[in-house]
């Protein structure tokens, strides 16, 4: 080729080696990035869990003085923020990264360098927000940072500035990742895999990514407004200057409710993969699960004021939001019936992933039911800001999202590593988590009904709350021990490897078609797809007729027009053809620019917290990263 392209002077040679620290800093491999997401967010999970245990220790007895009110405020703020933004979201991102290319039969995501950028920004953002602990001035305004409490009048320290800037940095990472997965899923599917043949986890990832891309900017707006209020003295939420603190609640929850679906939809996707595999039946009503997910994602935008029933928006607003909230429970309920229908009549195996998934259904249903209870404004007036709400969202987030994620960890661990997690330890892990979780959070239902407010650092002796609180604290400890068993399991299984093979669970989707762990290039030959659950039907062609007849049975894994498709799809694509049109498999080269750009963004963020000159110090890194990146070819010419 004679054509010219712009060149940017390289400060370091482009990383090439497959091992060592630079191979991680420069990596653009979705599997490595997924691993890094998983490890980092698991570490934050331990931090967030420790924060929770400290709170439970303080609340174990009445009028306890282990932890003072200020530290307690910091603990619940950072616990909530950590678990939502640094644990559940990035753990889901770990699964997106690992699985999406494998499930759709691709060699990587659409934008591998952007993918690396998302991870590095997430890493630095999470460190930034937690750095506030080191300064002794951790955020203390709650995970929803209500104004005016989060403004400088009531909160003069730097804590909430760390919080708001940290969230904005994390938001950039999430949006970049969301865009990447939208394009990847739409554009990188294996030949023959139309949208209604993609695995259900991939569908839930797509819906989640759309929600992320649309909801995170709303959080960014709230964050920028609070930040300028705090740092530059604007009046967005300052009533003395004409602003209105309630506006914060509107903007935050306009983001916040879609956010709770961002947290749960990936777990729903995981469960919808695990149940069919261990019931040895296709997912019951696949199109319903897809559409229910899409409807939830749409309706999620019209329910935000159910968090504000006691603010005084008036009967008209409360009624409207009450109705929309009750309606959104319908598609949620649809999915529960889909899962039950999948189990019905199945040939069920109760391995650890399945135990977690079945528990997910039960626990999530309890949380959904308490949600419908406070969808009614008069009922909510009793429950708002009490432990009942704490019980609700822990049933959906721990009983839902986290159990789903653990199910996914046990399910795909053999694919990620090549060996199983130990089954006995897994069952102990599951049992301890379930006992601890229910002991911790079930009592909060009646504590809340009895009027115990959330976010108080202690309570009086004669309230009759001691027994339930002690039980909850013991439950927290048991849950914590369950997590320790999981960590032990990870190391134990690594040292006593039980090799898994490529397809240990008799799986249904394409990730099981490649080796465990997959090669760098994922697939030696890009698979050619004919059916939904293609891998399964290729393994068991005799079952095809069972599911593909010409009536429109719900459980039919593919459309009714199958017959013509079989014929046209038969010629198999020759090995290793890819975008570059060469015979060999081409993977994107490594790059250190994502890392440099993310360093710049982190410095920029730190500058908003500390000093404008520091903002300036971030700019050169950003320019270096951007220019270098835009002039760097995806692949160096050979």
């Amino acid at each position: 080729m004679t054509t010219k392209s712009l060149k940017f002077p390289q400060a370091f040679p482009r990383p090439k080696s497959a091992t060592g620290i630079w191979s991680w800093i420069g990596t653009v491999d979705h599997k490595r990035i997924g691993t890094m997401y998983g490890i980092v967010s698991f570490i934050w999970f331990l931090v967030g869990g420790l924060e929770a245990l400290l709170m439970r220790a303080q609340l174990a007895s009445a009028e306890n003085d282990l932890i003072g009110p200020e530290a307690f405020n910091q603990l619940f703020t950072m616990h909530g923020t950590t678990m939502v933004f640094l644990v559940i979201m990035p753990l889901s991102a770990a699964f997106f990264n690992w699985l999406i290319p494998l499930q759709i039969g691709a060699r990587d995501v659409a934008f591998p360098r952007l993918n690396a950028l998302s991870f590095w920004i997430f890493l630095f953002g999470s460190i930034l927000i937690n750095f506030s602990w080191v300064t002794g001035d951790a955020p203390n305004g709650g995970w929803f940072g209500y104004a005016p409490n989060s403004g400088t009048t009531f909160n003069p320290g730097l804590g909430m500035t760390y919080w708001v800037v940290g969230l904005n940095v994390l938001g950039v990472a999430s949006i970049a990742a969301g865009l990447n997965f939208i394009v990847t899923i739409l554009n990188m599917r294996a030949p023959g895999m139309d949208m209604f043949k993609i695995p259900i986890f991939t569908w839930m990832t797509l819906i989640t990514s759309v929600l992320i891309v649309l909801a995170m900017p709303v959080l960014a707006v709230a964050g920028i407004q609070l930040m300028t209020d705090r740092v530059y003295g604007t009046h967005f939420f300052n009533s003395l200057g004409g602003g209105d603190p309630v506006m914060w609640q509107h903007i935050f929850w306009l983001f916040g409710h879609p956010e709770v679906y961002i947290l749960i939809l990936p777990a729903m996707g995981i469960v919808s993969e695990v149940l069919p595999t261990f019931a040895r039946k296709p997912l019951f009503g696949y199109p319903f699960v897809v559409f229910a997910g899409a409807v939830i994602a749409f309706m999620g935008w019209f329910v935000w004021s159910h968090h504000m029933f006691t603010v005084g928006l008036g009967p008209a607003a409360n009624t409207a939001f009450s109705i929309s909230t009750m309606l959104i429970a319908v598609p949620t309920g649809v999915k529960i019936f889909n899962w039950l229908g999948t189990l019905w009549g199945g040939n069920i195996r109760l391995n650890t992933p399945m135990l977690f998934s079945i528990s997910f259904i039960a626990m999530f249903t309890i949380g959904g039911l308490s949600g419908v209870m406070h969808a009614s404004p008069p009922t909510d007036a009793q429950q708002q800001d009490t432990y009942f709400i704490v019980a609700h969202f822990h049933y959906v987030l721990v009983g839902g999202a986290l159990l789903g994620i653990f199910s996914g960890i046990y399910f795909w661990w053999p694919k990620f590593t090549g060996y199983f997690l130990n089954e006995k330890l897994g069952i102990a892990n599951w049992a301890l988590m379930m006992i601890g979780f229910n002991l911790q959070f079930a009592p909060m239902h009646w504590l809340g009904m009895d009027g115990m407010p959330r976010r108080i650092y202690t309570y009086a002796e004669n309230m009759g709350w001691e027994g339930s609180n002690l039980a909850a604290s013991i439950g927290g400890l048991i849950l914590g021990i369950g997590i320790l068993v999981f960590i032990f399991n990870v190391f134990y299984s690594k040292m006593n490897k039980v090799m898994a093979g490529d397809d240990p669970w008799d799986g249904r989707t394409l990730e099981w078609a490649t080796s465990s762990p997959p090669p760098v290039h994922d697939f030696d030959v890009i698979p050619q797809v004919q059916y939904r659950d293609d891998f399964w039907f290729k393994k068991y062609p005799e079952t095809i007729s069972e599911y593909y007849h010409d009536d429109h049975d719900q459980a039919v894994p593919s459309g009714a027009q199958l017959d013509d498709e079989v014929e046209e799809a038969l010629p198999v694509v020759s090995g290793g053809s890819d975008d570059h049109g060469h015979g060999a498999i081409h993977l994107p080269d490594m790059s250190y620019y994502p890392f440099i750009l993310s360093v710049g963004i982190a410095i920029l963020g730190a500058g908003f917290i500390t000093n404008t000159y520091v903002v300036g110090a971030g700019v050169p890194f950003i320019l270096w990263g951007l220019l270098g990146w835009s002039m760097e070819p995806v692949n160096d010419p050979e």
């Binding site: 054509t3 010219k4 392209s5 712009l6 659409a110 934008f111 949006i175 969301g178 865009l179 990447n180 939208i182 394009v183 739409l186 554009n187 990188m188 599917r189 895999m193 891309v213 649309l214 909801a215 995170m216 900017p217 709303v218 960014a220 707006v221 709230a222 920028i224 407004q225 300028t228 530059y232 003295g233 604007t234 009046h235 967005f236 200057g241 004409g242 602003g243 209105d244 506006m247 903007i251 306009l254 975008d579 049109g581 835009s630």
Partner: protein, 215 residues
């Protein structure tokens, strides 16, 4: 693929599931995201309209004719953008470069107007801290200005590329994607201009409060 083969098709067929280029698809998705970003700021502006407790109020300070001129300038930059893309796609290097440069210049003029406006307002006593109008006005138009600044830098980069021959008809898609962004920022300004300058131009002090600037 040879150069000749590439030039035969105007739109190269993409090797993707949807047939759309991935980067272009991503730009559309990003613009959807940016709609929510601007939407939330514009909604904030509208909710807070007429809520200032002290002046200067919009009717006292907004200079509609001046901003109409800068709006016109920005609109014209979109026209230049269309022409620039057209000539790059045609392979007319010099014309392409010139029209992209026109985009850069018009964008920079728009930024100049905004800088001038901000300074004037500050002289007349309106800053982001003065009242809620100042807060919402400066942050919304400032965020838009930041988008324009990024666009101008991007277009300057494109103009340079076109000049050196790094941007050609076979990779005109790079410019097309930058153009999507540029047109979007332009459209957002039309909304902002309508909402701030046209709709609230007559917003004065709340009843019972006198004017604050005596010209």
């Amino acid at each position: 693929m040879t150069q000749a083969a590439a030039t035969e098709h105007h739109e190269p067929v993409e090797n993707t599931s949807t047939g759309l280029n991935s980067r272009k698809l991503m730009m559309w998705a990003f613009l959807g995201s940016d709609v929510m970003f601007f939407g939330a700021f514009i909604a904030t502006y509208l909710v807070y309209r007429g809520k200032s407790l002290v002046g200067p109020y919009p009717s006292e300070i907004l200079d509609i004719p001046l901003t109409s001129v800068s709006t016109f300038v920005l609109l014209m930059s979109s026209l230049a953008m269309v022409l620039g893309l057209h000539y790059v796609k045609e392979g007319q290097k010099n014309k392409g470069t010139i029209w992209i440069l026109v985009v850069v210049v018009l964008g920079a003029i728009f930024m100049g107007f905004q800088f001038y406006e901000f300074r004037e307002f500050a002289h007349e006593g309106l800053t982001p801290r003065t009242n809620i109008f100042g807060t919402t006005f400066f942050i919304l138009t400032g965020i838009h200005g930041a988008h324009v600044t990024i666009g101008v830098a991007w277009m300057a980069f494109m103009a340079y590329g076109s000049h050196t021959g790094a941007l050609r008809k076979d990779n005109a898609l790079d410019l097309e994607i930058a153009g999507l962004y540029w047109h979007f920022v332009d459209i957002v300004w039309i909304v902002i201009f309508t909402v701030i300058y046209l709709i609230s131009a007559t917003d004065g002090p709340p009843p019972g409060v006198g004017p604050t600037i005596l010209h």
